[in-house]
């Protein structure tokens, strides 16, 4: 059986294929087709199966990561959407939390609201915070509202009533009425999408879901048909923002959960690779063409966050906590009018790309600097399928940076890289040191096309002792699809002082949500033995307005005291202190349902016979002002032996990335094929 992971990026669509028969992994990529991403998936699958001589009928697993939902939001190409809400609150969607998007730059505007005011219609109804009905749902205003939406030609309807998390009856009635009156229209009720208090975030999430729903549904249909047409029998999965997999049917109802799906697969992949290789604590460092994504994995578990802005719209779903900065291979270096050099966030992207690509780029980029210093080889991009122009890169660095600053060309190019590294290091510190983690206990997992080029210097800057470079780092996101499990998250708000009764109530909510999760796992055909449920309670001290997540695994009725102890511990981990005398309040109960997928096993690699056999050349590499140019040995990663130390300066090449070793650093391929670098700061 074969397993295939597909990651659809802006420029390339990456594939990773795992052969269960011999444990081998193969990598492949084709240009993306942004008008219909499933076209590139189909083309790539066909070419790959054909090229490797494999039968489509033997593909038993297909996982894919997609930015379709994200792009619909960014480009605002979603459905014409209407909103039904409680009387008095239709403007909440546009008022938001009333903060402006940029503190200092008043020219920065809020993103245009996804549902215009005349399609936001109020219905007479009111539920109280305890779930009691204060004003019954008024059928007349509801019917009139639906008539108005139907006449406006909306394709999708979001419903968000106040306090529906405490009692969803009014939303359910409204949803049923919309479905009855407007058959074929996509309907999202907030109590189904996110039954959690704080109306604006819930409304925004529900509206985004409704906005992307119809178009995402059509994409999923095409994707499924194409996969079927090729002859692949497996039902495809999609990775969602929490790093777990979902079936097409689940994604169809809740597409908002895929809004940060792209980078999630890389993080989940890194976590799993690190777990198997014995590196449970990782900081992921994913450097692409325009941005760098960093995140933290502690004890093999990635950190989660519950909300994030996508194109300026708040989305609240459990998601991996990934910090993004505008620094990547295409980031442009500029000298400003006051004499400082800045690198990024402007980027030449993939088109025109760096000057060295020869596609019309005119401004010096990080990639041009790396090429100038011999850190990248002009002929190694995409396994030699693309040549770069070294002379053009040197010329632009000279003209735009070295000459104006009166510096030698090497110092200018190195300066660009040092500034980029300083930016990237700040991002790494913000996900690690600033959250109370000791970076000396972590390894930097470097991937993306340019991660392994910058990782050694960035690790030194941050005080991280070692690197882990997985195989084919440029396509790790595609591989991550093969290393993930099915998962889905459930939440119920329950606002109460901590007491034996309220704990009993929370336990009841857990039971309810586990039943819901079980029903979902039934639908996904997960065997009972492969299921697990994580129970989490959001709690806080009285007087606070933010919550701490408490792991409730193993806690049952009668164990309130143990729960409170765990809350104090969790508060200490998160904020550095606890106040044992202060009253505790419960806010929301959560369950994460997981169905273990029969994942692609990671197998030990054989490796090449000796270091000497892996040498493919030597190249001059510029290290820094002190070491200057040094002769570095160039290795072919696929032929490196396992467990043999490699001394820097050295360059390790593979199809999708280049790994650098500086003088004094050493590396070794560990049994599962990852390169471990000791940076020896």
């Amino acid at each position: 059986m074969y397993r295939i992971g597909v990651d659809v990026g802006g420029t390339f669509t990456d594939f990773t294929l795992h052969d269960d028969a011999d444990g081998s992994i193969r990598f492949f990529k084709v240009p993306s087709t942004p008008h219909d991403p499933s076209a590139a998936i189909e083309a790539g699958l066909l070419q790959m199966l054909d090229g490797f001589g494999l039968q489509a009928g033997n593909v038993g697993y297909l996982g894919h990561g997609t930015t379709v939902a994200t792009n619909i939001v960014i480009e605002r190409r979603g459905a014409r959407t209407g909103l039904l809400t409680t009387r008095g609150f239709r403007d909440v969607l546009e008022l938001g939390r009333q903060a402006r998007p940029s503190i200092y730059d008043y020219r920065v505007q809020k993103p245009p609201v996804l549902v215009p005011r005349d399609l936001r219609i109020e219905v007479t109804e009111r539920t109280g915070p305890d779930g009691s009905v204060l004003v019954s749902l008024d059928e007349t205003t509801l019917e009139a509202a639906i008539t108005q939406l139907a006449e406006s030609g909306v394709e999708s309807v979001a419903i968000c009533f106040l306090h529906c998390y405490a009692n969803p009856v009014h939303e359910s009635l409204a949803k049923a009425a919309v479905e009855r009156r407007m058959p074929g229209v996509f309907v999202s009720a907030s109590s189904e999408i996110l039954p959690e208090f704080r109306e604006f975030e819930r409304m925004s999430t529900t509206v985004v879901n409704a906005f992307v729903g119809p178009r995402m549904g059509r994409y999923l249909d095409r994707f499924r048909e194409r996969v079927k047409a090729i002859g692949i029998p497996a039902e495809p999965y999609t990775i969602h923002s929490n790093g777990g997999l979902m079936s097409v049917a689940t994604v169809r109802n809740c597409p908002v959960r895929t809004c940060v799906s792209g980078p999630a697969a890389g993080v989940v992949g890194a976590a799993e690779i690190g777990r198997v290789a014995g590196f449970p604590n990782l900081i992921t460092f994913d450097v692409g063409g325009t941005s760098t994504d960093v995140s933290l994995i502690h004890r093999s578990r990635p950190l989660y966050t519950s909300s994030r802005l996508v194109a300026g719209y708040p989305i609240k779903t459990p998601m991996l906590d990934i910090h993004v900065i505008g620094a990547g291979g295409g980031s442009i270096a500029r000298i400003d009018d006051a004499g400082a050099m800045k690198v990024g966030p402007q980027s030449a992207g993939a088109d025109p790309g760096p000057v060295a690509y020869g596609r019309g780029g005119t401004e010096p980029t990080i990639t041009d600097a790396n090429l100038t210093l011999g850190r990248l080889d002009a002929g190694t991009l995409l396994g030699g399928r693309m040549m770069m122009d070294l002379e053009a890169a040197r010329r632009v660095i000279h003209d735009r940076v070295a000459k104006p600053l009166g510096l030698p060309i090497e110092a200018a190019a190195l300066g660009i890289i040092q500034i980029a590294n300083a930016n990237m290091s700040r991002a790494i510190r913000s996900v690690s040191v600033e959250k109370g983690y000791d970076v000396s206990e972590f390894a930097l997992a470097a991937f993306g096309g340019a991660g392994p080029l910058h990782a050694a210097e960035v690790a030194v800057e941050c005080g991280i002792p070692r690197l882990l470079v997985p195989r084919e780092p440029g396509t790790l996101c595609a591989r991550g699809m093969l290393l993930s499990d099915l998962s889905s998250d459930y939440v119920r708000s329950h606002f109460a002082d901590a007491s034996a009764e309220s704990w009993q109530h929370v336990l009841g909510l857990f039971v309810e949500m586990i039943a819901e999760g079980s029903a979902w796992l039934d639908g996904e055909a997960v065997a009972p033995g492969a299921r697990s449920f994580r129970r989490i309670l959001d709690a806080r001290y009285r007087g606070q307005n933010f919550e701490v997540k408490v792991d409730c695994d193993g806690l049952e009725a009668g164990q309130l005291a143990a729960l409170i102890d765990r809350f104090h511990e969790a508060h200490t981990q998160e904020y550095g202190y606890a106040i044992p005398t202060r009253e505790v309040e419960f806010v929301s109960a959560r369950v994460q349902a997981t169905g273990a997928v029969n994942k692609a096993p990671q197998s030990r690699i054989t490796g090449g016979p000796s270091l000497g056999a892996a040498v493919i050349g030597r190249r001059q590499l510029y290290v820094d002002a002190r070491h200057g140019w040094q002769q570095a040995t160039v290795f072919d990663r696929d032929r490196l032996p396992v467990g043999v130390p490699i001394k820097g300066p050295a360059i390790i090449n593979e199809m999708s990335a280049t790994t650098l070793l500086f003088p004094g650093q050493s590396a070794m391929v560990e049994p599962f094929g990852n390169i471990i670098v000791e940076v020896n700061a």
């Binding site: 600053l405 500034i419 600033e434 904020y575 202190y577």
Partner: protein
């Protein structure tokens, strides 16, 4: 004038390292404090100074704190010699008149950082505490008549010596506030934050050595100064004057003008507030640190939002205000409710600076206000008293090419609202409506942003309502023929026979169960003549109900409205 940069690459790298330290301090301060002001609203800032007291780096959190610790560090340096300071010492202060403070709830902690036996840096942080005592809970009453009513005053005091906190002093401060447990926690966090910043600075000095560090500091300050001077030099020389006014001085009376005269000559900018009205009787005076922060905010926002907050943006600007005015009060004038004055002053500075810019870079006046309200009473569910603070924004000014943003906070305020669901879960109150105020934005080729309305029903007898608001009389003006906004109003029991219009600084109103309060804030000014408004935009406003037909016919004319609807 300004020195050339010795090493632009090392400067940029160093600048990232310094900012990483300031941001790290900011995140630990916000993460570890208890007050929701600090934790949720991020009403706190962290900064690094050199041994001469020059601001070297500040983490961006809230504009009213821009450069706000400079006065504190200056006071410390005037009072103590560097060789009197030991590693592990920490100073505390908050007083606007004695220690460069902003208002009493903003407490600063400043810590000298030694390396090789010398003070090389000061690490500082300032945080808005939920309460520092005084006549009203929250310590920000709009109607105090002197600073003695506003809470505990702290001149510069050494709160820690050689790493040991003076517990006696700390408890003296804490017991003078309404929640001593919270205050102790937050003050300890502030002291710890600087120690953490100090440890990181020492590691940086170990790595770079003092000479390279000193060079990089000089480069950063020279660079920022050069960048700002370039922006100023690009403006036409001249004298530009703009006036905004407060409705009154905190008690019913006549408007109080705030006049800004911007004098631009070559690379220098002077902001002079001569002509501004007298010191207020109420608590809306703007002390030195707050007027400076407001001016730095304006210059950064209007000329170059990317300017790094350090001494380099401070030195090229000269700020003068005549003593005894609302913008340069004398002790013991009350200052607690300075936020609304700060925003109005920013409106005056923006208006003056915009006259030096081409029309396409001009924005019409924003609401330049903020309406803070407080509802307090007894919560039967909790069997305890509660205080619910809220602050509301309004419209943002229209631009040459687009309408102003609806319903946002502007200038030095940027706090978030309390969601209806959180409000109703917590307090015996019901939020009946939260919406835009139609017709509140000034008409024009581009319309000013709309204000917002919030209507609350009270569920328990004996509930107390207070407001610190303004712009109930004077609207936000339009520009280049654009119309002004409406004005703010606060209504008690709107739409009933008992409806009553309240004064902007109503204080201590006792309300009964079933009564309602409605606050409607002002919008912002329009840009360009209404006759030039694109018909499709006017049609959209009418369709969306952001502008009513009657108002549109008044501002745009019946004929234009008919064409828009055709």
């Amino acid at each position: 004038m300004s020195k050339p940069i010795a090493d632009p690459i090392q400067m940029e790298v160093f600048s990232n390292r310094l900012l990483a330290i300031a941001e790290d301090m900011g995140s630990i301060l916000i993460r570890s404090s208890f007050s929701s002001n600090i934790k949720e609203r991020k009403d706190a800032s962290t900064a690094l100074f050199d041994a001469r007291g020059r601001l070297v780096a500040q983490a961006d959190h809230i504009p009213i704190h821009l450069g706000a610790m400079i006065g504190a560090v200056e006071t410390i340096l005037a009072r103590y010699r560097l060789d009197e300071m030991a590693p592990g010492d920490a100073f505390i202060c908050n007083d606007p008149y004695l220690a460069g403070g902003s208002h009493l709830p903003d407490i600063s902690i400043i810590t000298p950082i030694h390396h090789d036996g010398e003070v090389r840096f000061f690490a500082g942080n300032i945080a808005h505490h939920a309460d520092v005592g005084g006549r009203t809970p929250g310590s920000t009453s709009g109607v105090s008549r002197s600073i003695f009513e506003e809470g505990i005053r702290l001149p510069v005091i050494r709160i820690a010596r050689a790493g040991t906190i003076d517990e006696d002093l700390l408890s003296l401060i804490a017991v003078n506030t309404r929640d001593p447990e919270e205050r102790l926690l937050d003050l300890r966090t502030q002291i710890g934050t600087n120690l953490r910043g100090g440890a990181m600075l020492i590691a940086l000095l170990d790595r770079m050595g003092w000479p390279a560090t000193e060079q990089a500091i000089e480069d950063i300050l020279a660079y920022t100064g050069r960048r700002l001077r370039n922006r100023i030099a690009a403006l036409p020389d001249g004298v530009y004057r703009f006036e905004r006014s407060m409705d009154d001085d905190g008690f019913p009376g006549v408007p109080v003008p705030i006049v800004c005269t911007a004098r631009i000559a070559g690379e220098t900018l002077e902001l002079d507030f001569e002509g501004s009205g007298p010191e207020a009787r109420g608590a809306i005076n703007l002390p030195d640190s707050a007027i400076k922060a407001s001016c730095y905010y304006c210059v950064k926002a209007v000329l170059d939002p990317g300017l790094m907050p350090n001494q380099g943006i401070i030195d090229p600007i000269r700020i003068t205000a005549p003593p005894g005015t609302i913008v340069n009060p004398r002790p013991p004038a009350a200052v607690a409710a300075r936020a609304v004055t700060s925003n109005r002053l920013c409106g005056a500075v923006f208006g003056a600076l915009f006259q030096a810019l081409p029309p396409e870079r001009v924005m019409a006046s924003c609401n330049d206000s903020t309406s803070a309200t407080s509802v307090s009473g007894f919560n039967p569910r909790r069997q305890a008293t509660y205080v619910y603070p809220e602050s509301m924004g309004g419209g943002a000014g229209a631009f040459a090419d687009r309408d102003g943003m609806d319903a946002v906070h502007v200038h030095t305020v940027n706090s978030t609202n309390l969601p209806a669901e959180a409000l109703e879960l917590e307090y015996p109150l019901i939020l009946e409506e939260y919406c835009f105020v139609p017709d509140s934005g000034g008409a024009g080729r581009h319309r000013g942003g709309l204000g917002m309305a919030r209507q609350i029903r009270i569920l328990a007898d004996g509930t107390i309502f207070s407001a610190r608001s303004d712009a109930h009389v004077i609207p936000a003006p339009g520009v280049f023929g654009g119309k002004p906004s409406n004005v703010t109003r606060i209504l008690r029991n709107p739409g009933t026979e008992r409806e009553e219009v309240l004064h902007s600084k109503s204080s201590g109103l006792v309300m009964a169960a079933g009564e309602t309060i409605r606050v409607e804030t002002l919008g912002a000014g329009g840009y360009g003549p209404p006759t030039e408004r694109p018909l499709d935009r006017l049609a959209a406003d009418l369709r969306e109900g952001k502008v009513t037909r009657a108002a549109a016919e008044r501002d745009y004319g019946v004929e234009m409205v008919c064409r828009a609807l055709a």
